[in-house]
């Protein structure tokens, strides 16, 4: 009965299956939805969507199928990343206004003002909807910006009675494929856990007890084992300063996640490429500096080394002695990289730079080779692959 609906859902990337379709039909037969479209919407959503990230897609498909709503031509409408909108705001609002808004209430407020401003602009430039395109400064031009797709002016969600439920698209925020919060970072890092039994014996060892009792000729012989603890040891080397400033936020999230997830976590900083010295705190760098060799001696090969850096620098900083931008280094960065990877058999490099840009930066290619291809993007998928590799 609703076959086209199911097919459209599947085409939109909502993984609805036959089982769920049949469940929906049965529920219809039972009269759960009655004769109201809204109820049918709720029912089909509960039956067919199993992940809140798909709710928005569902709303869109539902709107299309049951109202003949036309989707914008070309590619499926995609929400513009918050970053673009921010850039946009920077272009349109003055820095004073920006900081004022930031202080007032962050992003939402910013969008609000931006929306107003765009509306005003539309009035003044008679071109109407094309204003952004013709101005030539907009960061959207290149991406084929479509005001309908972006829906900057979507007022509907404010007045919920005015529109049908599925048109309000209340779940838009949840449809983020690469939402990377410290919460799901933690979940990804959890794969790294290695359980080991150490410490006081507090748990009953059932197989041991049974074995010992049997050997004892049937008289009970209790055996205890220590509880299991996460025994993985992680050494985090973080690149700071320079080009890493763009990635501060995500590194901070990673750091928070790692710190609460591992009991044995040590972290050191370096700049651009690891050389003969690393340090503990950035503010008191001189006092907390230690020779890298000492670090190698302190942490055994059973530690897992995770380097976080954008690996974006001049190739000389890696391959030439004295190539460092900060000081005269006796030995080239690649010598140190070799020492690190030889010492720590389990090592990985996390790179916050978008993976599709890697091959355009020579230094990334070099370091990727030095890491024996164990460089992963700092995304959820990248973290998971890394955790799986390191846990082997």
């Amino acid at each position: 009965m609703f076959a086209p609906f199911i097919l459209a859902l599947r085409a939109a990337g909502v993984p609805a299956s036959i089982t769920e379709y049949l469940a929906l039909l049965r529920a219809m037969k039972e009269g759960v939805a009655g004769f109201s479209v809204d109820d049918f919407y709720h029912l089909s959503r509960a039956a067919l969507v199993k992940d809140e990230r798909h709710l928005d897609r569902f709303d869109r498909v539902f709107g299309e199928i049951f109202k003949g709503l036309e989707s914008p031509s070309g590619e499926a409408p995609r929400e513009l990343p918050a970053e673009w909108l921010r850039k946009m705001a920077e272009k349109i609002l003055t820095p004073e206004e920006m900081s004022q808004i930031e202080a007032l209430g962050g992003f939402d407020k910013l969008m609000e003002t931006l929306k107003q401003r765009l509306a005003e602009q539309k009035g003044r430039h008679q071109g109407g909807s094309k204003w952004i395109g013709t101005a030539g400064t907009s960061p959207f031009g290149a991406y084929g910006y479509n005001p309908e797709g972006v829906r900057i002016g979507q007022e509907e969600s404010r007045h919920r009675r005015a529109v049908k439920v599925w048109d309000q698209r209340q779940f838009r925020d949840l449809d983020e494929d690469e939402a990377l919060s410290s919460r799901n970072m933690k979940v990804a890092l959890r794969r790294l856990r290695r359980f080991a039994r150490t410490g006081a014996a507090t748990e009953l060892d059932l197989p041991g007890t049974i074995g010992a009792t049997a050997r004892n000729g049937g008289s009970l012989d209790l055996h205890m084992v220590p509880e299991r603890h996460n025994a993985v040891k992680v050494l985090l080397l973080m690149d700071v300063g320079g080009s890493m400033d763009d990635h501060i936020r995500i590194c901070q999230e990673l750091f928070t996640a790692a710190r609460s997830e591992f009991k044995h976590l040590e972290f050191w900083y370096f700049h651009n490429c690891p050389y003969e010295r690393v340090w503990r705190t950035n503010r008191r760098r001189r006092e907390t500096e230690r020779p890298t060799m000492e670090m190698l001696r302190t942490y055994g090969p059973d530690w897992r080394l995770v380097i976080v850096g954008d690996a974006t620098m001049s190739p000389y900083e890696i391959i030439q002695p004295g190539g460092s931008v900060e000081h005269w280094n006796e030995e080239a960065g690649q010598v140190w990289m070799g020492r690190l990877t030889r010492h720590f058999r389990k090592a990985a490099w996390l790179n916050p730079v978008d993976q599709s840009h890697w091959r355009y930066t020579q230094s990334i290619t070099i370091l990727q080779r030095l890491m024996e291809n164990r460089m992963y993007p700092l995304t959820l998928a990248g973290l998971e692959t890394m955790a799986r590799e390191l846990a082997r």
Partner: protein, 282 residues
Amino acid sequence: MAQFKGTENYVASRELEVAVNASVALQRPLLVKGEPGTGKTVLAQEIAKALGYPLIEWHIKSTTKAQQGLYEYDAVSRLRDGQLGDPRVHDIANYIVRGKLWDAFESEQPVVLLIDEIDKADIEFPNDLLLELDRMQFFVYETRKTIAARHRPVVIITSNNEKELPDAFLRRCFFHYIRFPDRETMEMIVRAHYPDIRRDLLREALNVFFDIREVNELKKKPATSELLDWLKLLTIEDMPPEALRSSDTKTAIPPLYGALLKNEQDVHLFERLAFLARRRGG
């Protein structure tokens, strides 16, 4: 068939009612997700109340095994009894400890079974329960008996999204995502809990509350349960509504913020914002 409707102290949206009724009618589990503090666990209690069924709660921890919900074989006490020559030892059934699912299946009347925070358990946990929840029966190896449900229980499963649940499991459930309530709904929820709260206090408190939720950098945004706690504190302290109006007070930190902000980073963030606001104002 009894229908689920919101009760006087639980405000349920129409979508939630439909989802619950569908899962009751089709006797399939209902998976409920949503921000912490939006009333996922309370939902099961309210469903039980609305349908007039008893509620069996199974709270999942990281160490919980699926088997524990069915039954456990207490080998140690049998060993001990064997040593002491207790006659009970000859019947293995004496050492089978029933789990929550068993209780729910064997119950004389239909029950509501809450499996709380299923994502806390091991990644294989939901898979181990697939057949049991589908057929509502399981096999006890020790006694060679099949335990089948007399009445299929209404199963409510909550998840906080810490782990992805397997597709095979999801396919067998209905799903509902509890959205964060908007202002109107929130007012109804508060009224359901504190019917005689002062109107002006509630208005100011909701202003502050939604303002706080607007701040994007917060680690843990306050949710419904925090708001309810906070309002209770405010009424106990007999706080005048004017004290909440941040625009004319010197500080922007709401009074008794401890109920709303749960970690020191968030409190610091607020102090900083308050400082900036003061500087701008003065």
